[in-house]
């Protein structure tokens, strides 16, 4: 797992990242470190900018100011070819799945390997079937995304994110909309994959506090800033008012800030 000689440095470093959409300052100076070979979980109220942050990390969006280092490389000023070589390291799960709806489950999951690897047809088939079994979707290969339930789409998208064994995994709410048993199973899968292939993961999750069990580090995001971050124990003992209110709101099963968006607490 060496990349450009930065074997021990953090996989991702974010410094003072700012981004505004119109009048809204969505990222307001985000600073964050995601250590190598660990799972960093970002939590925070709906609309605080978690998805926007993740889309900056994988370079879909460009910041107004600030820096992002991926494996020690500053990526915000790279040209598109250099960006593509950084992206080769990524596996990404989009919050809404972003499955290719013209392709079957099998083709969706196989897609990154078909397009980006030299594996043979049989090798690809074996890999895809294995990962589909791990996410609990065996027998679903021929179905199309529109024929799947929301949770099944999520798991297909997770399989697609994992299939290339990326060195950096970005997961935007991998368990939202899953039942509690599935949630635990997916958490365990993320954990075991992370340990088996020694990858670094950034995960956005609303499954607080269950998700802490498989997280190495937690970052609490609030109104465009990371307000608290550290190991799970450090964060849990934090005295930050917003974080305490956020946790209390979670425990009571209600949103901390009322939002018109449908949020992950539904059905939990």
């Amino acid at each position: 797992m060496t990349h450009n000689g930065t074997k021990d440095g953090p996989a991702i470093i974010v410094r003072e990242l700012r981004r505004r959409f119109g009048k809204q300052q969505v990222l307001d100076g985000v600073t964050l470190e995601c250590p190598r070979n660990q799972i960093t979980t970002i939590v925070g109220p709906s609309g605080c900018g978690k998805t926007v942050l993740l889309k900056h990390l994988n370079l879909l969006l460009r910041p107004d100011s600030g820096q992002i280092f991926i494996d020690g490389i500053e990526v915000t000023r790279l040209n598109s070819r250099a960006i593509d070589s950084v992206r080769e390291k990524f596996g990404m799960l989009f919050q809404a799945g972003a499955l290719f709806d013209s392709m079957s489950v099998f083709d969706n999951v196989a897609f990154p390997l078909v397009e980006k690897s030299n594996l043979t047809r049989d090798e690809i088939r074996a890999r895809v079937l294995e990962i589909l079994r791990q996410v609990g979707l065996e027998g679903m290969e021929e179905k199309y995304p529109s024929e799947l339930s929301g949770g099944m789409q999520k798991r297909t998208a997770l399989a697609r994110a994992l299939i290339r064994r990326p060195s950096i995994l970005m997961l935007d709410e991998p368990t939202t909309g899953l039942d509690p048993t599935r949630t635990t199973a997916i958490h365990q899968l993320v954990r075991s994959t992370q340990q088996r292939f020694g990858l670094s993961a950034v995960m956005v999750s609303h499954d607080v506090p269950q998700v802490f069990a498989i997280s190495d580090r937690v970052a609490f995001m609030h109104a465009g800033k990371i307000e608290v971050s550290g190991t799970v124990d450090e964060v849990m003992s934090s005295e930050n008012e917003n974080f305490k209110r956020f946790l209390a709101g979670r425990a009571a099963g209600e949103e901390e800030r009322p939002s018109s968006q449908v949020v992950a607490t539904v059905g939990r």
């Binding site: 879909l60 992206r87 080769e88 809404a96 709806d101």
Partner: protein, 245 residues
């Protein structure tokens, strides 16, 4: 004003990128073949049908007009020239816009709205190269072929009505075509078809690719694509005719 210029710049750059990526590796022939199949399958019967009726109406009108001057023998020439130089490329392009072009705008619009295009980007797959270049190439290849089919069917349609129904002389119909339809005329028609193929796919892909991320965004993109591409086809046809005549 400045926004308009910037949008026009993006529009032109989009085509430029699609063409550059079409000739840059990695080559994915199966993507091109799939698009050829889509355009062909979606437009084949429509183009054939419209070609037949266009030829039939030309046979009818042409016969009635030419008879006033006593030159029914020129019917074949008139039908063939009008079809090959003008109506074939233009109508085939409009039919491809209506079927394949609108479908592509809607498909790419939905892919944009549901972040599928972003997913490609994050996989380090250039979405313009993967989605747009094969479609533009397929348009450039298939529209001349569809136009040829339109022309041939149209000429037969004109023959059936003009000669078969109205009674224009049969011999001069084809002799006239053989004598007066030059390779220059055919070249102009095919050249137009080729340019139209590019324009249709360019406009429809651009509109779909830049659809707004909401439910109305996709329908809006589809409508815009059909309208803009139809207008561009007819406007461009005038200028190409004026220059090439």
């Amino acid at each position: 004003m400045i926004e308009g210029v910037a949008a026009l710049g993006n529009f032109v750059l989009f085509l430029f990128a699609a063409l550059v990526y079409a000739i840059a590796p990695p080559y994915k022939p199966r993507l091109l073949i799939r698009q050829l199949r889509t355009i062909g399958a979606e437009s084949f019967f429509l183009v054939a049908l419209i070609g037949l009726f266009t030829g039939m109406v030309l046979g009818l009108q042409g016969y009635n007009t030419l008879r006033r001057f006593g030159s029914e023998g020129a019917l074949g020439t008139v039908v063939a020239l009008v079809l090959v130089r003008e109506l074939g490329p233009v109508l085939a392009a409009l039919m491809v816009t209506a079927r394949a072009g609108s479908a592509m705008a809607a498909e790419l619009g939905a892919m944009q709205a549901t972040e599928q295009i972003d997913a490609l980007t994050v996989m380090a797959i250039n979405p313009v190269q993967y989605l747009v270049s094969p479609r533009v190439l397929a348009g450039v290849i298939s529209l001349p072929l569809l136009t040829c089919m339109f022309d041939v069917i149209g000429i037969w349609g004109g023959y059936i009505i003009g000669v078969g129904l109205m009674g224009a002389p049969s011999g001069p119909f084809f002799n006239g075509i053989a004598q007066n339809l030059g390779s220059h005329d055919i070249a102009i028609g095919l050249y137009k078809a080729l340019v139209f193929g590019m324009v249709v796919m360019w406009v429809c892909c651009y509109k779909g690719y830049h659809a707004a991320r909401m439910a109305t965004g996709v329908s809006r993109a589809t409508t815009d694509a059909v309208v803009l591409s139809s207008v561009l086809i007819l406007a461009w046809d005038y200028f190409m005719t004026a220059i090439l005549l």
